[in-house]
């Protein structure tokens, strides 16, 4: 049989530098490298390479590099090589194409077309190293009225809230899609940083109940791993309706990954496929959603905020308006660039809308309907830096979720082959020899370092604008200007063009 595909990458070895230590061979789960006795040197099979850069990073003499394969099909602006390659795959397998991590296609990144303001002369900037700068955020409903007792003292009766030291949380990533060690690192980092991580739909491993004060537990359409202790253990409970990478469809963790503790944690038999339905079969309307929100609140004695997470789709503003009236305390919106452990390629690359536009329209809609304070807004879907965080907050978010960024901090190189289950960095895998490659002591420290740095940068940017608290930044669109955006885009974002006063 002819293999119609060509290797997308080429492993290039500098034989002057290679010392035959065979570290690359031992570290590649795709078995690209091997020592060829006959030649007396290392040989690489580029066709198996996924460009995860593990060998490049570990090579002690820096003898390796991975390049795009110069052997390319005849250039064609319409029939690009990837379309041919995908057809070859489907012509061979007859299957739906699968992809991992966020949409890599060249759609506009609105964050990159937005610039942040700074103070000059007339409104002094603030130096965060010398003056207080508040990045603490509370998530949950903000009461509209104040109640006092008979002596006039304020009754401090507030709806349940989440307290974050900075406006960033780790996105939902299930135990199963990512490894035990990756979860351990996220949990430890969240605790140390005073923020939250999210179990995703995989249940909560018994070892991680001790991080309950910093855990958001998820209830998704498959209801895997959901039981009373699980709900009671979370600091908040998230109802997952949709995910940015695959709006409108469910999930499928293959039976091969449902082994040992993953099976126990999900509360399903070993080897059985974990299929999450596309919809929650008890939610076909906002009224149904309200029932689940209040069932969960009832089960947890109204002590915990309830988050409803949706994917950013065309009519996201109307849906968010409904959710804000459903009794939910927090709405999480996941943009079309959000990551995934596996999603059908066509859906990941073609469904949903950018988070910047979704956020702009949702915040505007909730304000117009005077229900913005009913809920907090958390946005996700490719927040890549502290500048993205600041821009999202100016567009109306209370906080952001980061998934891909946190994986990258732990070593992920976005090779986008999580669905193979052979992650060389020990993140998106359940193979014990690969899982141990992620030492949670190191990974947690790297997560803490990254977010500590982001927090400093957020404070610097706020100080530059003359703003000393996140509260004063939220929805402050005057602090943003667009570059190269048309009238419609600016209107949806609710910002002016650069140069406009």
């Amino acid at each position: 049989m002819i293999d119609y595909n060509v290797a997308p990458f080429e492993v290039v070895r500098d034989y002057d530098k290679c010392v035959n230590c065979r570290v690359c061979e031992r570290q590649c789960s795709n078995e690209v490298h091997h020592y060829e006795e006959g030649f007396g040197k290392m040989i690489s099979d580029s066709t198996k390479c996924v460009d995860c850069q593990r060998c490049v990073c570990l090579c002690p003499t820096k003898a390796l590099k991975i390049l795009p394969n110069q052997n390319a099909f005849r250039p064609n602006a319409n029939w690009q090589q990837k379309y041919l390659t995908e057809i070859y795959k489907q012509a061979e397998s007859g299957g739906v194409l699968l992809s991992s991590m966020g949409n890599p296609e060249p759609f506009p990144v609105y964050f990159d077309k937005i610039l942040i303001n700074a103070s000059q002369v007339t409104n002094p900037s603030i130096d965060p190293l010398r003056e207080p700068m508040e990045t603490r955020v509370f998530l949950g409903a903000k009461p509209q009225t104040m109640q006092r007792d008979r002596e006039g003292k304020i009754l401090p009766k507030l709806p349940p809230r989440l307290k974050l030291s900075m406006p960033v949380m780790f996105s939902a990533m299930s135990y199963g899609s990512i490894s035990y060690n990756a979860h351990a690192a996220l949990a430890r980092a969240a605790e140390k940083l005073g923020i939250y991580y999210n179990t995703g739909e995989g249940g909560l491993h018994k070892d991680f109940y001790k991080y309950s004060a910093n855990t958001i537990v998820q209830v998704a359409s498959g209801r895997f791993g959901v039981h009373k202790d699980y709900l009671e253990d979370g600091a908040a409970i998230e109802i997952k309706i949709g995910q940015g990478a695959k709006p409108g469809i469910g999930g499928h963790l293959p039976g091969a990954k449902i082994v040992g503790d993953v099976s126990k944690t999900r509360m399903i038999p070993e080897g059985s496929d974990a299929v999450s339905p596309a919809p929650h079969h008890d939610i076909y309307s906002i009224e149904d959603l309200r029932q689940l929100v209040y069932s969960i609140k009832e089960a947890t004695e109204y002590k915990k905020p309830v988050i409803v997470k949706i994917a950013a789709v065309h009519n996201v503003a109307a849906i968010a308006s409904g959710i804000a009236r459903s009794g939910a305390d927090i709405i999480a919106i996941d943009g079309f660039r959000g990551g995934t452990g596996a999603a059908p390629t066509r859906i990941r690359d073609n469904v949903g809308i950018p988070i910047e536009l979704a956020l702009g329209s949702v915040d505007q809609r909730l304000r117009e309907e005077n229900i913005r304070d009913n809920v907090s807004l958390v946005v996700a879907g490719s927040i890549r830096s502290s500048a993205d965080v600041v821009k999202a907050i100016c567009l109306g978010a209370d906080a952001v979720y980061i998934g891909s960024a946190s994986l990258v901090a732990m070593g992920c190189h976005l090779c986008r082959t999580c669905n193979y289950g052979k992650c060389n960095w020990g993140i998106a895998t359940q193979r014990p020899d690969l899982v141990k490659r992620l030492n949670p002591d190191i990974a947690a420290e790297r997560l803490i370092n990254m977010l500590t740095a982001w927090n400093h940068e957020i404070q610097e940017m706020m100080g530059g604008m003359g703003i000393n608290s996140i509260e004063a930044l939220r929805g402050n669109r005057l602090m943003l200007r667009g570059v190269g955006l048309n009238e419609r885009e600016l209107a949806v974002l609710g910002i002016k063009h650069a140069g406009e006063v």
Partner: protein
């Protein structure tokens, strides 16, 4: 004293430590020059039973059997407590090799004893196996 400890849980069996050790003790500045086409004889060795891997090097015991066994006074503790080898005194009798419970001492091609000396006597001044371990499986710490 600060000693090298190995966390078996995190050892990946990549053998990087062996090559970094050989480089550190080669006296050659360039890593390629130090390792290229050479058979290495490092002071740390990754042992494996196929499942578990573990980097073994000198434990710098509080009461080192190798020093007691040394017939020529070539082995001694320095002021920090590290067990050091004076090659000029070593006669290559192999007594230390026989008594070491960890198999961490060996007789080199030169005919003298050699073992991990915590990179104290080379240009790095800190154990390179620790610094270069990709997974924090080898640590240099006070316990």
């Amino acid at each position: 004293m600060k000693k090298i400890y190995v966390k078996e849980e995190w050892c990946l069996g990549c053998h990087l430590c062996e090559f970094e050790c050989a480089y550190a003790n080669s006296g050659i500045g360039n890593i390629v020059l130090a390792l290229k086409d050479k058979e290495i004889d490092p002071n740390v060795k990754v042992l494996s039973d196929g499942k578990i891997t573990f980097a073994v090097s000198c434990r710098h015991c509080d009461e080192p059997l190798c020093i007691s066994a040394c017939i020529s006074g070539a082995l001694s503790k320095d002021e920090t407590g590290a067990v050091m080898v004076d090659k000029s005194k070593c006669v290559g009798c192999g007594s230390c090799v026989m008594v070491c419970p960890y198999g961490a001492v060996r007789i080199t091609k030169e005919g003298t004893a050699n073992k991990c000396q915590l990179c104290m006597n080379n240009t790095f001044g800190e154990p390179l196996c620790v610094k270069k371990c990709p997974n924090g499986a080898i640590v240099f710490e006070e316990k």
